[in-house]
C-alpha cells in the first residue's frame, strides 16, 4: 500500500513542492492550508498515515493542530516542517514520540531525507 500523506501549510508553493516530490515517490497526497481545515479533513477521513505540519499557521498553530489531529486519528504520525528558528518541540508532543528525527527546518534543501522519513513512518519504522 502506498503511504497516504497530509500536508498542512499555508504557503501554496511549499505544498506543491512537497506534493510533487512525494507523488513522484508513489505516495498519495492531500493538503490543508490551516490547522482547522486539517481537523475537518481528519473528521471525515482517518486514512492518512503521516502528516507534515507547518507550525506558524493562521488561526490554530501547528502544535495545537497536532494535538487535535492526534485526538481524532490516534494512529496518525507527524513530521514538523517549520521556518521558525526559535521552535522547540513541546513536552507533550515529545511524549507522542515526536523528536528531532521528525523535525525538518525550512528551507529543506534536499527533499529526499524528508520523503524517506515519511516512508519509514508509514510502515512504523521510526
Amino acid at each position: 500500500m502506498s503511504p497516504r500523506v497530509l500536508i498542512v501549510d499555508d504557503e501554496p508553493s511549499i505544498v506543491t513542492g512537497l506534493r510533487v516530490f512525494l507523488e513522484d515517490e508513489g505516495m498519495q497526497v492531500g493538503s490543508a492550508s490551516s490547522g482547522e481545515e486539517a481537523v475537518d479533513i481528519a473528521r471525515n477521513d482517518c486514512s492518512f498515515d503521516v502528516c507534515i505540519m507547518d507550525i506558524r499557521l493562521p488561526g490554530m498553530n501547528g502544535n495545537t493542530a497536532i494535538r487535535a489531529l492526534h485526538e481524532i486519528c490516534p494512529l496518525l504520525k507527524f513530521i514538523i516542517h517549520t521556518g521558525s528558528a526559535e521552535y522547540s518541540i513541546p513536552d507533550d508532543l515529545r511524549a507522542m514520540g515526536i523528536d528531532e528525527r521528525l523535525f525538518f527546518a525550512k528551507p529543506v534543501i534536499d527533499m529526499t531525507p524528508l520523503s524517506e522519513t515519511v516512508a519509514a513512518l508509514a510502515i512504523g519504522r521510526v
Partner: protein
C-alpha cells in the same frame, strides 16, 4: 546675602551616553527585525529550492512517471535531456539551487547573529567564530556596494593551543566582524595597492586568549589612535559610519567580557587590533 553658589555641569558626556543608548536600542530592534525577516524569507526560499529539485527530477529519464508521460506524448526523453544538458539549462537550474541554498545559509547566520539579546557565556571554538565572521563579511551588502571582499586575502595564523574561549560568541563575532569590515573599508578607500591582506592571528597567553586582526592598510596616526574607541568619533564620511562600532566593541570586550582591546598602527604600513579575553570567561584570580 553674602554668598551665592553657581553650579555649572558639563552634560556633554551624559548627552553622549544617552544618545549611545538610543542608538544601541535602535540596533537591537534592527536585530529583532532581521530575525522576523529571516523567517519570512525561508518560506519563499523553500519554494525556490523545492521547485528546482522537482524540475531536475521531472527531467530525468530515470524516473518511471517521466518515462510514462514522455511515451504518451511521443517524446524521446533521453534526447530532450541531452538537449537541456548541452544548452547548459540543467546547469542553470543547479545554479538556482546553489544560490538559494547559499541564501539560506546567510539567513541562518543572520538568525544566529540577531538572537542574542542577553549575554550567554558558553565555550566557543575560536576558529569557528573567525570562520563565521569571514563568511558574514563576504556577504555584507554595505561592504559589497563599495568593495569586493573577495579581493582581500585572508591569512590564518592560528595557535593550536587556543581552541576555545568561554564567551558570548555572537557578541565576540560582532566585534570581530566590525574590525574586519573596518580593515577592508580602510584598504579600499585609501587606495592601498594590492594585495589587500587581513591577518587573523590567535595566541594563547596563559589564562588569556589573544585574537588579532591585522591589515596592511593606510594605518592610523597617533592622535586618531587615542580616540578610536570614543563614542561618535569617526573618520568616515557623514552617513557612512556612526562612530559607534568600536565603542560598542570596547564595551563588549572590557565590560561584558572583562578583557582588553587595543590598537597599534604605523601610518603607511597597517593597523593591528588586539583583543585579550580570559579563557574561562572571567579574569583569573
Amino acid at each position: 546675602m553674602s554668598h551665592a553658589v553657581i553650579r555649572v555641569d558639563d552634560i556633554t558626556n551624559r548627552v553622549r551616553i544617552e544618545q549611545m543608548m538610543v542608538q544601541t536600542e535602535k540596533m537591537m530592534s534592527v536585530g529583532g527585525l532581521a530575525a522576523g525577516m529571516a523567517h519570512e524569507i525561508n518560506n519563499p526560499l523553500s519554494g525556490v529550492l523545492q521547485s528546482s529539485q522537482n524540475i531536475l527530477r521531472r527531467l530525468s529519464p530515470d524516473l518511471e512517471p517521466n518515462r510514462r508521460t514522455a511515451e504518451a506524448l511521443g517524446v524521446d526523453l533521453e534526447r530532450v535531456y541531452r538537449y537541456l544538458d548541452e544548452r547548459g539549462i540543467l546547469e542553470f537550474v543547479n545554479t538556482i539551487q546553489q544560490s538559494a541554498s547559499r541564501a539560506s545559509h546567510i539567513i541562518a547566520d543572520m538568525l544566529a547573529y540577531s538572537r542574542s539579546t542577553t549575554t550567554d557565556f558558553q565555550p566557543a571554538r575560536v576558529e569557528d567564530m573567525l570562520d563565521t565572521v569571514v563568511r558574514l563579511a563576504a556577504s555584507d551588502y554595505d561592504l559589497k556596494k563599495k568593495y569586493d571582499f573577495k579581493q582581500v586575502e585572508i591569512v590564518h595564523d592560528f595557535d593550536p593551543e587556543l581552541e576555545t574561549l568561554v564567551c558570548d560568541h555572537t557578541e565576540i563575532e560582532q566585534v570581530l566582524l566590525n574590525l574586519v569590515k573596518n580593515a577592508a573599508q580602510a584598504m579600499a578607500e585609501s587606495g592601498t595597492p594590492h594585495p589587500h591582506r587581513i591577518i587573523l592571528r590567535t595566541r594563547r597567553e596563559g589564562e588569556y586568549g589573544r585574537i588579532e586582526v591585522q591589515d596592511n592598510g593606510p594605518g592610523i596616526d597617533k592622535q586618531t589612535q587615542r580616540r578610536v574607541f570614543e563614542p561618535f568619533f569617526t573618520t568616515k564620511a557623514v552617513g557612512v559610519g556612526t562612530g559607534l562600532g568600536l565603542s560598542v566593541s570596547y564595551f563588549i570586550i572590557t565590560d561584558q567580557h572583562k578583557g582588553t582591546i587595543d590598537v597599534s598602527s604605523t601610518p603607511g604600513k597597517g593597523t593591528c587590533f588586539t583583543i585579550r579575553l580570559p579563557l574561562q570567561g572571567r579574569p583569573p584570580s
